[in-house]
């Protein structure tokens, strides 16, 4: 089954929006207070959840037609985005361990994609 460009575009876009959703969740978690009013007012949290839901819709649209061996690795783009967002937004250090882990995970997801043929 050939993978249409639209599927790839959906999945790439999904991974980008998904990574921003993760940023929203982290930002919302930093000032988390477990009361109904505080949770309702936690707009960063809501933005994160919305980002995740939207990215999930785009992902489903993309994965409907297409080879998972090509689409899976696109999803791991979100890990790359998130690594840099975490430095940009939250000042988290970019260590060699994180890069090594990222490399392994990208390779592993690619392998699983090939295994899904």
């Amino acid at each position: 089954m050939t993978t249409p460009a639209s599927s790839i575009a959906w999945v790439i876009f999904a991974s980008f929006i998904g990574s921003l959703g993760a940023v929203g969740l982290k930002a919302g978690a930093k000032n988390l207070q477990l009361s109904i009013t505080a949770l309702a007012a936690n707009w960063r949290l809501h933005a994160g959840v919305a980002g995740y839901l939207i990215s999930w819709v785009f992902f489903v649209l993309g994965v409907k037609t297409g080879d998972l061996s090509i689409l899976y690795p696109m999803v791991s783009l979100s890990y790359i985005w998130t690594l840099f967002w975490s430095k940009w937004f939250f000042g988290e250090p970019l260590t060699r361990g994180k890069f090594a882990a990222l490399g392994l995970i990208l390779a592993g997801v690619a392998l699983l994609g090939l295994g899904n043929r």
């Binding site: 919302g28 978690a29 207070q33 690594l83 882990a101 990222l102 997801v109 699983l112 090939l114 295994g115």
Partner: protein
């Protein structure tokens, strides 16, 4: 653990990591919460896939007539069945619980450490695909699972120092 009433972490336990930085125990707990999230998310994915497969057997053009006072609506039968599907509802509920765990985990853990751990859900889905949907385990899947676990293990060590 300090028993002094002047210790900031005893004043607001929920935000102690914002004041002092998360403890190793908190970071380890955060990591395991993300692992739990991946398990919930994978089961949720299987439930949703099961529910969606059932929906695919409904004729695409079929509609359910609904009358709300003066309104006469034709709602797609697929949507009606979807809203009533225990598999879909259960899957979404599990996703919701999992998301709550993820947010709690992010309170004390670094995003760059915890986020890639979500890749474990690919591992669980691969295993479940073989166990439940009778797909085949192959060398790519075995290698992919091993490599992902190795990557997550590195994050586990770097994240709980």
């Amino acid at each position: 653990m300090s028993t002094s009433t002047l210790n900031p972490s005893t004043l607001n336990p929920l935000n102690s990591s914002a004041l002092n930085g998360p403890t190793t125990a908190q970071k380890r707990k955060a990591l395991w919460m993300v692992v739990a999230f991946t398990l919930l998310a994978s089961v949720a994915q299987v439930l949703i896939k099961t529910g969606a497969n059932a929906l695919n057997r409904i004729a695409p053009g079929a509609a359910v007539a609904v009358t709300l006072g003066p309104l006469h609506l034709h709602i797609s039968a697929t949507i009606v069945a979807g809203l009533a599907s225990p598999a879909l509802i259960g899957g979404l509920a599990l996703y919701g619980i999992g998301a709550a765990m993820m947010v709690l985990a992010l309170q004390h853990g670094e995003l760059s450490v915890l986020y890639p751990v979500i890749s474990l859900s690919y591992v669980w889905v691969a295993i479940l695909s073989v166990a439940i949907f009778h797909e085949h385990m192959n060398m790519f899947r075995v290698a992919g699972i091993a490599v992902i676990i190795a990557g997550v293990a590195i994050l586990g060590r770097s994240g709980s120092r």
